[in-house]
Symmetry: C3
Subunit: 136 residues, 3 copies
Amino acid sequence: MPLARLSVPAAVPTRKVRALADAVHDGLVATCDVPPKDRFQLITAFEADRMILDPTFPDLQRSAEASIVEVLFLEGRNVAQKAALFQHIATAAIEAGFRGDDIMIVLSENAPTDWSLGKGLSYGLNHEPGTKPERE
Amino acid sequence: MPLARLSVPAAVPTRKVRALADAVHDGLVATCDVPPKDRFQLITAFEADRMILDPTFPDLQRSAEASIVEVLFLEGRNVAQKAALFQHIATAAIEAGFRGDDIMIVLSENAPTDWSLGKGLSYGLNHEPGTKPERE
Amino acid sequence: MPLARLSVPAAVPTRKVRALADAVHDGLVATCDVPPKDRFQLITAFEADRMILDPTFPDLQRSAEASIVEVLFLEGRNVAQKAALFQHIATAAIEAGFRGDDIMIVLSENAPTDWSLGKGLSYGLNHEPGTKPERE
Protein backbone atom coordinates (compact mmCIF):
# COMPACT_ATOMS: atom_id res chain seq x y z
CA MET A 1 0.00 0.00 0.00
CA PRO A 2 2.92 2.11 -0.25
CA LEU A 3 3.01 3.03 -3.92
CA ALA A 4 6.59 3.21 -5.18
CA ARG A 5 7.51 4.85 -8.45
CA LEU A 6 10.97 4.13 -9.81
CA SER A 7 12.42 6.39 -12.50
CA VAL A 8 15.52 4.84 -14.02
CA PRO A 9 17.70 5.58 -17.02
CA ALA A 10 16.83 3.36 -20.00
CA ALA A 11 20.44 2.20 -20.02
CA VAL A 12 20.16 0.39 -16.68
CA PRO A 13 19.78 -3.36 -17.33
CA THR A 14 16.45 -4.95 -16.45
CA ARG A 15 17.99 -7.25 -13.86
CA LYS A 16 19.44 -4.30 -12.02
CA VAL A 17 16.20 -2.36 -12.15
CA ARG A 18 14.43 -5.31 -10.63
CA ALA A 19 17.04 -5.50 -7.89
CA LEU A 20 16.40 -1.83 -7.09
CA ALA A 21 12.67 -2.51 -6.92
CA ASP A 22 13.37 -5.40 -4.55
CA ALA A 23 15.61 -3.15 -2.46
CA VAL A 24 12.85 -0.58 -2.11
CA HIS A 25 10.27 -3.10 -1.04
CA ASP A 26 12.61 -4.96 1.30
CA GLY A 27 13.50 -1.66 2.90
CA LEU A 28 9.86 -0.78 3.50
CA VAL A 29 9.23 -4.16 5.09
CA ALA A 30 12.36 -4.03 7.25
CA THR A 31 12.05 -0.47 8.51
CA CYS A 32 8.49 0.77 8.13
CA ASP A 33 6.27 -2.16 9.14
CA VAL A 34 5.00 -2.71 5.63
CA PRO A 35 3.58 -6.24 5.19
CA PRO A 36 5.73 -8.34 2.81
CA LYS A 37 2.86 -8.87 0.39
CA ASP A 38 1.94 -5.18 0.38
CA ARG A 39 3.94 -4.39 -2.75
CA PHE A 40 2.89 -1.95 -5.45
CA GLN A 41 5.54 -0.52 -7.75
CA LEU A 42 5.62 1.30 -11.06
CA ILE A 43 8.83 1.47 -13.05
CA THR A 44 9.54 3.96 -15.83
CA ALA A 45 12.67 4.07 -17.96
CA PHE A 46 13.82 7.47 -19.24
CA GLU A 47 16.06 8.40 -22.13
CA ALA A 48 19.02 10.47 -20.97
CA ASP A 49 17.64 13.78 -22.24
CA ARG A 50 14.36 13.22 -20.38
CA MET A 51 15.97 12.83 -16.99
CA ILE A 52 17.78 15.96 -15.92
CA LEU A 53 19.65 15.25 -12.69
CA ASP A 54 22.38 17.50 -11.43
CA PRO A 55 25.59 15.44 -11.49
CA THR A 56 26.97 16.56 -8.12
CA PHE A 57 24.38 18.33 -5.90
CA PRO A 58 24.83 18.58 -2.96
CA ASP A 59 28.15 16.70 -2.58
CA LEU A 60 27.76 13.55 -4.67
CA GLN A 61 29.05 12.09 -7.92
CA ARG A 62 26.13 10.82 -9.99
CA SER A 63 26.68 8.50 -12.92
CA ALA A 64 24.56 7.65 -15.97
CA GLU A 65 22.67 5.18 -13.76
CA ALA A 66 21.37 7.78 -11.30
CA SER A 67 17.80 6.87 -10.42
CA ILE A 68 14.93 8.31 -8.46
CA VAL A 69 12.73 6.35 -6.08
CA GLU A 70 9.48 7.96 -5.00
CA VAL A 71 7.40 6.37 -2.27
CA LEU A 72 3.91 7.45 -1.31
CA PHE A 73 2.86 5.85 1.95
CA LEU A 74 0.82 6.34 5.09
CA GLU A 75 1.74 9.19 7.40
CA GLY A 76 3.09 8.16 10.78
CA ARG A 77 6.61 6.91 10.12
CA ASN A 78 9.08 8.83 12.26
CA VAL A 79 12.36 10.39 11.26
CA ALA A 80 14.38 7.41 12.44
CA GLN A 81 12.30 5.01 10.38
CA LYS A 82 12.67 7.14 7.31
CA ALA A 83 16.42 7.42 7.80
CA ALA A 84 16.65 3.65 8.26
CA LEU A 85 14.60 3.17 5.10
CA PHE A 86 17.00 5.35 3.11
CA GLN A 87 19.96 3.43 4.45
CA HIS A 88 18.39 0.07 3.77
CA ILE A 89 17.49 0.89 0.19
CA ALA A 90 20.90 2.36 -0.59
CA THR A 91 22.75 -0.56 0.94
CA ALA A 92 20.72 -3.12 -0.98
CA ALA A 93 21.07 -1.10 -4.19
CA ILE A 94 24.82 -1.05 -3.76
CA GLU A 95 24.81 -4.81 -3.32
CA ALA A 96 22.93 -4.97 -6.64
CA GLY A 97 25.66 -2.99 -8.36
CA PHE A 98 24.43 0.58 -8.05
CA ARG A 99 26.59 3.34 -6.69
CA GLY A 100 25.21 4.85 -3.48
CA ASP A 101 25.45 8.31 -5.00
CA ASP A 102 23.01 7.24 -7.71
CA ILE A 103 20.05 6.46 -5.47
CA MET A 104 17.82 9.42 -4.69
CA ILE A 105 14.74 8.73 -2.59
CA VAL A 106 11.71 10.93 -2.01
CA LEU A 107 8.83 10.23 0.36
CA SER A 108 5.30 11.60 0.38
CA GLU A 109 2.50 10.80 2.80
CA ASN A 110 -1.24 10.53 2.95
CA ALA A 111 -3.92 9.01 5.20
CA PRO A 112 -5.54 5.55 5.40
CA THR A 113 -8.76 7.01 4.04
CA ASP A 114 -6.88 8.12 0.91
CA TRP A 115 -6.48 4.53 -0.29
CA SER A 116 -8.72 2.01 -1.94
CA LEU A 117 -6.87 -1.20 -2.68
CA GLY A 118 -9.74 -2.65 -4.68
CA LYS A 119 -13.51 -3.15 -4.98
CA GLY A 120 -14.09 0.52 -4.29
CA LEU A 121 -13.53 -0.04 -0.58
CA SER A 122 -11.87 2.58 1.57
CA TYR A 123 -8.79 1.10 3.19
CA GLY A 124 -9.16 3.45 6.15
CA LEU A 125 -12.73 2.35 6.78
CA ASN A 126 -12.41 -1.32 5.96
CA HIS A 127 -8.92 -2.70 6.40
CA GLU A 128 -7.18 -0.47 8.92
CA PRO A 129 -6.19 -2.39 12.06
CA GLY A 130 -8.44 -1.37 14.92
CA THR A 131 -11.37 -0.41 12.75
CA LYS A 132 -14.42 -2.55 12.45
CA PRO A 133 -14.72 -3.93 8.93
CA GLU A 134 -18.04 -2.86 7.49
CA ARG A 135 -18.22 -5.43 4.74
CA GLU A 136 -18.52 -9.16 5.08
CA MET B 1 -7.99 20.78 -11.25
CA PRO B 2 -7.79 17.50 -9.77
CA LEU B 3 -4.88 15.93 -11.62
CA ALA B 4 -5.47 12.23 -12.20
CA ARG B 5 -2.73 9.86 -13.23
CA LEU B 6 -3.80 6.46 -14.53
CA SER B 7 -1.26 3.66 -14.69
CA VAL B 8 -2.59 0.76 -16.74
CA PRO B 9 -1.11 -2.42 -18.16
CA ALA B 10 -0.25 -2.06 -21.86
CA ALA B 11 -2.52 -5.03 -22.54
CA VAL B 12 -5.69 -3.17 -21.56
CA PRO B 13 -7.52 -2.05 -24.73
CA THR B 14 -7.69 1.68 -25.43
CA ARG B 15 -11.48 1.76 -25.22
CA LYS B 16 -11.37 0.29 -21.75
CA VAL B 17 -8.65 2.66 -20.59
CA ARG B 18 -10.77 5.56 -21.77
CA ALA B 19 -13.75 4.17 -19.88
CA LEU B 20 -11.67 4.04 -16.71
CA ALA B 21 -10.61 7.65 -17.25
CA ASP B 22 -14.27 8.59 -17.68
CA ALA B 23 -15.13 6.66 -14.50
CA VAL B 24 -12.53 8.60 -12.53
CA HIS B 25 -13.74 11.96 -13.73
CA ASP B 26 -17.42 11.13 -13.36
CA GLY B 27 -16.69 9.99 -9.81
CA LEU B 28 -14.97 13.24 -8.95
CA VAL B 29 -17.89 15.23 -10.31
CA ALA B 30 -20.52 13.10 -8.59
CA THR B 31 -18.93 12.86 -5.15
CA CYS B 32 -16.37 15.62 -4.69
CA ASP B 33 -17.96 18.73 -6.21
CA VAL B 34 -15.51 18.85 -9.09
CA PRO B 35 -16.89 20.94 -12.00
CA PRO B 36 -17.63 18.75 -15.05
CA LYS B 37 -15.19 20.67 -17.23
CA ASP B 38 -12.41 20.51 -14.62
CA ARG B 39 -10.78 17.43 -16.13
CA PHE B 40 -7.04 16.85 -16.27
CA GLN B 41 -5.77 13.29 -16.72
CA LEU B 42 -2.52 11.63 -17.68
CA ILE B 43 -2.50 8.01 -18.79
CA THR B 44 0.56 5.78 -18.88
CA ALA B 45 0.67 2.20 -20.13
CA PHE B 46 3.15 -0.16 -18.50
CA GLU B 47 4.64 -3.41 -19.73
CA ALA B 48 3.96 -6.25 -17.30
CA ASP B 49 7.48 -6.31 -15.87
CA ARG B 50 7.35 -2.58 -15.13
CA MET B 51 4.23 -2.78 -12.98
CA ILE B 52 4.77 -4.88 -9.91
CA LEU B 53 1.46 -5.30 -8.11
CA ASP B 54 0.93 -7.93 -5.50
CA PRO B 55 -1.72 -10.31 -6.87
CA THR B 56 -3.74 -10.71 -3.67
CA PHE B 57 -2.94 -8.10 -0.98
CA PRO B 58 -4.84 -7.61 1.25
CA ASP B 59 -7.71 -9.95 0.31
CA LEU B 60 -8.21 -9.48 -3.42
CA GLN B 61 -7.62 -11.34 -6.66
CA ARG B 62 -5.87 -9.07 -9.15
CA SER B 63 -5.70 -9.95 -12.82
CA ALA B 64 -3.40 -8.82 -15.63
CA GLU B 65 -5.57 -5.73 -15.98
CA ALA B 66 -4.94 -4.41 -12.47
CA SER B 67 -4.57 -0.64 -12.68
CA ILE B 68 -3.68 2.23 -10.41
CA VAL B 69 -5.51 5.54 -10.29
CA GLU B 70 -3.79 8.41 -8.52
CA VAL B 71 -5.67 11.63 -7.89
CA LEU B 72 -4.12 14.82 -6.59
CA PHE B 73 -6.78 17.29 -5.54
CA LEU B 74 -7.63 20.06 -3.11
CA GLU B 75 -7.67 19.25 0.57
CA GLY B 76 -11.05 19.41 2.22
CA ARG B 77 -12.94 16.37 1.02
CA ASN B 78 -14.12 14.35 3.99
CA VAL B 79 -13.88 10.63 4.60
CA ALA B 80 -17.41 9.98 3.36
CA GLN B 81 -16.74 11.82 0.10
CA LYS B 82 -13.55 9.88 -0.46
CA ALA B 83 -15.30 6.59 0.26
CA ALA B 84 -18.09 7.52 -2.15
CA LEU B 85 -15.49 8.45 -4.78
CA PHE B 86 -13.84 5.03 -4.47
CA GLN B 87 -17.20 3.30 -4.81
CA HIS B 88 -18.25 5.39 -7.76
CA ILE B 89 -15.04 4.79 -9.69
CA ALA B 90 -15.04 1.05 -9.00
CA THR B 91 -18.70 0.67 -9.97
CA ALA B 92 -18.24 2.53 -13.24
CA ALA B 93 -15.03 0.62 -13.98
CA ILE B 94 -16.87 -2.66 -13.46
CA GLU B 95 -19.55 -1.49 -15.89
CA ALA B 96 -16.73 -0.87 -18.37
CA GLY B 97 -15.53 -4.44 -18.02
CA PHE B 98 -12.92 -4.18 -15.27
CA ARG B 99 -12.96 -6.41 -12.24
CA GLY B 100 -13.44 -4.46 -9.01
CA ASP B 101 -10.36 -6.12 -7.54
CA ASP B 102 -8.28 -4.53 -10.31
CA ILE B 103 -8.95 -0.91 -9.46
CA MET B 104 -6.61 0.59 -6.88
CA ILE B 105 -7.10 4.27 -6.07
CA VAL B 106 -4.76 6.62 -4.21
CA LEU B 107 -5.50 10.21 -3.22
CA SER B 108 -3.13 13.05 -2.37
CA GLU B 109 -4.01 16.59 -1.41
CA ASN B 110 -2.68 20.08 -1.67
CA ALA B 111 -3.94 23.66 -1.33
CA PRO B 112 -5.60 26.11 -3.77
CA THR B 113 -2.43 28.19 -3.79
CA ASP B 114 -0.52 25.14 -5.06
CA TRP B 115 -2.22 25.33 -8.46
CA SER B 116 -1.80 27.47 -11.52
CA LEU B 117 -4.17 26.39 -14.26
CA GLY B 118 -2.58 28.69 -16.80
CA LYS B 119 -1.13 32.13 -17.56
CA GLY B 120 1.02 31.92 -14.46
CA LEU B 121 -1.95 32.82 -12.28
CA SER B 122 -2.35 31.33 -8.83
CA TYR B 123 -5.64 29.49 -8.64
CA GLY B 124 -5.88 30.18 -4.93
CA LEU B 125 -5.47 33.91 -5.42
CA ASN B 126 -7.43 34.33 -8.62
CA HIS B 127 -10.10 31.71 -9.15
CA GLU B 128 -11.03 30.38 -5.71
CA PRO B 129 -14.68 31.07 -4.89
CA GLY B 130 -14.90 33.82 -2.33
CA THR B 131 -11.65 35.47 -3.30
CA LYS B 132 -11.60 38.69 -5.22
CA PRO B 133 -10.17 38.15 -8.70
CA GLU B 134 -7.16 40.37 -9.13
CA ARG B 135 -6.99 40.23 -12.88
CA GLU B 136 -9.51 41.51 -15.36
CA MET C 1 15.85 18.68 -4.36
CA PRO C 2 12.71 19.89 -5.71
CA LEU C 3 11.66 17.07 -7.99
CA ALA C 4 9.92 18.38 -11.09
CA ARG C 5 7.87 16.20 -13.39
CA LEU C 6 7.01 17.61 -16.79
CA SER C 7 4.24 16.00 -18.81
CA VAL C 8 4.26 17.29 -22.37
CA PRO C 9 2.50 16.32 -25.59
CA ALA C 10 4.74 14.21 -27.83
CA ALA C 11 4.24 16.80 -30.57
CA VAL C 12 6.16 19.51 -28.69
CA PRO C 13 9.67 19.81 -30.15
CA THR C 14 12.58 18.75 -27.95
CA ARG C 15 14.12 22.22 -27.93
CA LYS C 16 10.91 23.68 -26.59
CA VAL C 17 10.53 20.98 -23.94
CA ARG C 18 14.02 21.72 -22.75
CA ALA C 19 13.21 25.42 -22.59
CA LEU C 20 10.21 24.64 -20.39
CA ALA C 21 12.42 22.54 -18.12
CA ASP C 22 14.84 25.46 -17.89
CA ALA C 23 11.95 27.80 -17.13
CA VAL C 24 10.81 25.61 -14.25
CA HIS C 25 14.24 25.41 -12.71
CA ASP C 26 15.04 29.08 -13.23
CA GLY C 27 11.74 29.92 -11.57
CA LEU C 28 12.52 27.80 -8.54
CA VAL C 29 15.93 29.44 -8.18
CA ALA C 30 14.57 32.95 -8.64
CA THR C 31 11.55 32.74 -6.38
CA CYS C 32 11.92 29.86 -3.93
CA ASP C 33 15.55 29.95 -2.81
CA VAL C 34 16.44 26.73 -4.61
CA PRO C 35 20.21 26.45 -5.18
CA PRO C 36 21.08 26.67 -8.91
CA LYS C 37 22.67 23.23 -8.91
CA ASP C 38 19.72 21.66 -7.08
CA ARG C 39 18.02 20.47 -10.28
CA PHE C 40 16.13 17.20 -10.64
CA GLN C 41 13.61 16.86 -13.45
CA LEU C 42 11.77 14.03 -15.16
CA ILE C 43 10.17 14.60 -18.55
CA THR C 44 7.50 12.40 -20.08
CA ALA C 45 5.97 12.82 -23.53
CA PHE C 46 2.36 11.74 -24.00
CA GLU C 47 0.43 10.85 -27.12
CA ALA C 48 -2.65 13.02 -27.52
CA ASP C 49 -5.10 10.34 -26.41
CA ARG C 50 -3.13 9.71 -23.22
CA MET C 51 -3.31 13.32 -22.02
CA ILE C 52 -6.85 14.42 -21.40
CA LEU C 53 -6.86 18.12 -20.59
CA ASP C 54 -10.00 20.18 -20.73
CA PRO C 55 -9.52 22.74 -23.50
CA THR C 56 -10.96 25.75 -21.68
CA PHE C 57 -11.35 25.24 -17.91
CA PRO C 58 -11.63 27.57 -16.08
CA ASP C 59 -11.34 30.45 -18.56
CA LEU C 60 -8.42 29.54 -20.81
CA GLN C 61 -7.81 28.42 -24.39
CA ARG C 62 -5.49 25.41 -24.37
CA SER C 63 -3.77 24.24 -27.54
CA ALA C 64 -2.24 20.92 -28.56
CA GLU C 65 0.89 21.95 -26.66
CA ALA C 66 -0.78 22.21 -23.26
CA SER C 67 1.62 20.80 -20.67
CA ILE C 68 1.61 20.00 -16.98
CA VAL C 69 4.43 20.83 -14.59
CA GLU C 70 4.39 19.11 -11.22
CA VAL C 71 6.85 20.17 -8.55
CA LEU C 72 7.39 18.35 -5.27
CA PHE C 73 9.44 20.45 -2.89
CA LEU C 74 10.00 21.30 0.75
CA GLU C 75 7.14 22.80 2.70
CA GLY C 76 7.65 26.36 3.83
CA ARG C 77 7.27 28.46 0.71
CA ASN C 78 4.58 31.09 1.25
CA VAL C 79 1.71 32.04 -1.02
CA ALA C 80 3.60 34.98 -2.50
CA GLN C 81 6.57 32.81 -3.39
CA LYS C 82 4.34 30.25 -5.03
CA ALA C 83 2.51 32.94 -7.00
CA ALA C 84 5.85 34.40 -8.10
CA LEU C 85 7.01 30.94 -9.15
CA PHE C 86 3.93 30.45 -11.33
CA GLN C 87 4.46 33.83 -12.94
CA HIS C 88 8.14 33.23 -13.52
CA ILE C 89 7.63 29.85 -15.16
CA ALA C 90 4.79 31.07 -17.38
CA THR C 91 6.72 34.14 -18.48
CA ALA C 92 9.81 32.14 -19.39
CA ALA C 93 7.70 29.50 -21.13
CA ILE C 94 6.04 32.21 -23.22
CA GLU C 95 9.48 33.50 -24.18
CA ALA C 96 10.28 29.95 -25.31
CA GLY C 97 7.27 29.92 -27.59
CA PHE C 98 4.56 28.42 -25.39
CA ARG C 99 1.20 30.06 -24.90
CA GLY C 100 0.58 31.08 -21.29
CA ASP C 101 -2.72 29.22 -21.33
CA ASP C 102 -0.83 25.99 -22.01
CA ILE C 103 1.24 25.92 -18.83
CA MET C 104 -0.46 24.27 -15.86
CA ILE C 105 1.59 24.01 -12.67
CA VAL C 106 0.90 21.90 -9.59
CA LEU C 107 2.87 21.96 -6.34
CA SER C 108 3.14 19.34 -3.60
CA GLU C 109 5.15 19.52 -0.41
CA ASN C 110 7.00 17.30 1.98
CA ALA C 111 9.62 17.61 4.75
CA PRO C 112 13.45 17.65 4.76
CA THR C 113 13.44 14.22 6.38
CA ASP C 114 11.49 12.88 3.39
CA TRP C 115 14.51 13.22 1.09
CA SER C 116 17.66 11.26 0.55
CA LEU C 117 19.74 12.76 -2.23
CA GLY C 118 22.17 9.86 -2.24
CA LYS C 119 24.22 7.37 -0.22
CA GLY C 120 21.19 6.52 1.87
CA LEU C 121 21.63 9.70 3.87
CA SER C 122 18.64 11.63 5.17
CA TYR C 123 18.75 15.15 3.83
CA GLY C 124 16.92 16.43 6.88
CA LEU C 125 19.44 14.91 9.25
CA ASN C 126 22.58 15.49 7.25
CA HIS C 127 22.36 18.40 4.85
CA GLU C 128 19.72 20.75 6.21
CA PRO C 129 21.18 24.16 7.08
CA GLY C 130 21.43 24.50 10.84
CA THR C 131 21.71 20.79 11.50
CA LYS C 132 24.97 19.21 12.47
CA PRO C 133 26.15 16.83 9.76
CA GLU C 134 26.46 13.38 11.21
CA ARG C 135 28.65 11.89 8.54
CA GLU C 136 32.23 12.76 7.69
